[in-house]
Symmetry: C2
Subunit: 161 residues, 2 copies
């Protein structure tokens, strides 16, 4: 169910490579209250929603000690996003911006990244706060959040971004 239809004026497509260079496994699913992209909050800062990360049973041993951390990164696969837009015009901008200067799900490798609060772990289900993705989104990875390397409070961004 790829959104091939929506290319806005000013947006730029590209020819993707002929073949993939590596493969990923979907290791679980993220359960959220959002049943469509339209329902999703713009990003995690605008979401207090509780979600559940359902990790496939074969990976259960990988959760050992994860509960020692207050926050985690989720990497997930935006499987409903097209991959061939290299400049995009989000609703909050007036001119197109490069895909790599946006957090849009539409990108050559539709891997999304979200820092979320880890509220609890029961079996292979993680309860997290601040989810922003569509219910059922495939999970690629879970990483502990390290403030020492991941937190850059003074990082600058443009006023309209």
């Amino acid at each position: 169910m790829t959104e091939q239809s929506h290319v806005r004026p000013g947006e730029v497509t590209l020819a993707l490579p002929d073949s993939f260079d590596a493969g990923v496994y979907f290791i679980g699913r993220i359960r959220t209250p959002f049943k469509s992209r339209a329902e999703c909050p713009k990003n995690t800062a605008q979401s207090e929603a509780i979600g559940y990360v359902e990790l496939d049973a074969r990976f259960a041993a990988g959760l050992e000690d994860l509960g020692l951390y207050s926050h985690i990164f989720l990497l997930y696969w935006m499987d409903q996003a097209r991959r061939d837009l290299i400049q995009q015009l989000p609703a909050h901008l007036t001119v197109p911006r490069g895909t790599f200067a946006l957090r849009s799900p539409v990108r050559p490798n539709p891997i999304a990244l979200a820092a979320v609060e880890l509220l609890g772990i029961a079996g292979t289900t993680l309860t997290v706060r601040n989810v922003d993705c569509i219910d059922g989104t495939p999970l690629l990875d879970i990483k502990p959040y390290f403030a020492s390397i991941d937190s850059i409070p003074n990082a600058r961004r443009p006023d309209r971004a």
Copy 2:
């Protein structure tokens, strides 16, 4: 050149799924001073090294406006890492820890994540500070760093991590 040989006592392997669920493109390469994993710093906080992100020409338009940001996330593919260890024993720990509680390159989907300072862009080459990966590592994605959602200064972690 996968490191299949090194499984330490206490480490746990798993049977990976039979097939991949999706494919990724290598969209460029990261050039660093580090020619082997042994030469790499433990993480970006321990590296002041300057590196160069060489984006493939076909994706050039995706960099438009990226220079407005002071910091970016790089997502890259740890192509020398095995994928089948689900508990690991890093040198700084005494008992194995789950793969998802570690930032080790060894994981089912060997996607690494680094927040780096963006020093400049010339054509399709980005100059960045704080790189920690092996020279030539394949690039998967570039994202702008948003302090509002990505910076969690008070995130907790265990003393030994």
